[in-house]
Amino acid sequence: MSHELRGSSAVVGIGLAGCGEAPGRMPLDILAEATHNALDDAGLKLSDVDGIFTGSSYHFMPALSTAEYLGIKPRFSDSSMVGGSSFVAHTLNAAMALKTGQCDVALICYGSNQRTAGGKLATMSEQQIYEAPFKPRYPISSYALAAARHMYQYGTTREQMADVAVAARQWAQLNPAAFARDELTREDVLNSRMISDPLSLLDCCLVTDGGGAVIMVSSERAKDFPNKPVYVLGTGTAHWHRQITQMPDLTTTAAVDAGKRAFEMAGVTQNEVDVVELYDAFTINTILFLEDLGFCAKGEGGAFVENGNISPGGSLPVNTNGGGLSCVHPGMYGIFILIEAIQQLRGGCGARQVDNPEIALVNGNGGVLSSQVTTILGTEAVL
């Protein structure tokens, strides 16, 4: 018997705003514009929204500040904070809220002006007191330590990590909305300025502005909207640590558990997935998540991404918008992988459109490889 949440809710509206640079705009301005675009896409009004799901690096009580700004009085609110993976996790909480009648129209939303407000993440994170004396650079040092260990343990190379950045750039070149679309070679990545060994500047994601919004309703009414519904087939969450020293094994993330839970709820397997959107804050992420989600064996992620396998025309379409590495990355990136997966399943992505995808997998990352959330989405054909 299938899980009661499998396909019980669907995305009927999506919106992006301010991706790249949105000078002079506050995070909630950008969030509201994305919300406007998502409502427009769904043919709904702001007053229809009665459930809000959001996260922020700027507001201590994100749902309260966001609902106040939008002038809505939601029946159900969720500001669950699991870093950049929050917005992927919100699909599970929204599905439960819709299923149990806590709300009828769920709005998942995010906005950030990280680039034009100074180029640095305005983190509300508390200092990690046992790490602070050593001045790790947050968050890159954590990912660098994971990459170094992966290289040591499995022979992964900087060249293979560079190939992740090159593949992302090749997808970005097919996406007119991507921020970085210049030619990029493996040598460019290898020769870029070293920041925290073994990660160089071009192993790191962009710092942009941007916002996104996703509107979910119960599947029973999903066909009453202008666009082809995209169904939430399954979501799994997992976290094993907060600070990097507490990660049990620097080469294996909690995506092992999150992915397993999502696959189980969705009732699908890896080889049925047509398109994959992974949270690529750094090049090592893509390698780790492909392994942990079961698209290749542990330790074989480097070989898997080598020589264009995840590039356009490769064996597995991964990060088809250009990823956090080349498309957009405003502080927290989770909502953008969700939106790209939905766009791919709807079709009409132009040059970067994957050939008739029916199932998409999204994996959000939060903290320092800490929180992992996997969502599997599908078209009506796989309900």
Partner: protein, 132 residues
Amino acid sequence: MSSTDDRFNGPGPDQIYYNYLREDNFSLPQCQDCHEFHFYPRVVCPHCGSFNLEWKTLSGKGEVYSTTTIRRKPERGGHYNVCHVTLEEGPRLMSRVEGVDSLDVKIGDKVTAVINKDSDDPFVTFTPVQGD
């Protein structure tokens, strides 16, 4: 209300840890049920959930589990090491290896703890084991 259980009275594990370091003693709690050590110090064993812990002095021996060099311009102090060291007793902590160029620190290197008391809250760094 104060606890009648001594384990929850007086300074917490964070204070105890620093107090030991101030006395040149590198100690961590060991679980009396599963016998695992843990870092950072807590009132509960994160391995098995037991609250039955005792502080034990460590050997100070460890091995580099992973390492990175944070690049910084010479005029800003130059590049420096950030690493994870796995202690002989099991726990892993963030630290730096001193007395050697950060780029020469390798995973698997054997290291020894040194207590740094330059600041109010002491911390532990490591030096390479001679002849390693």
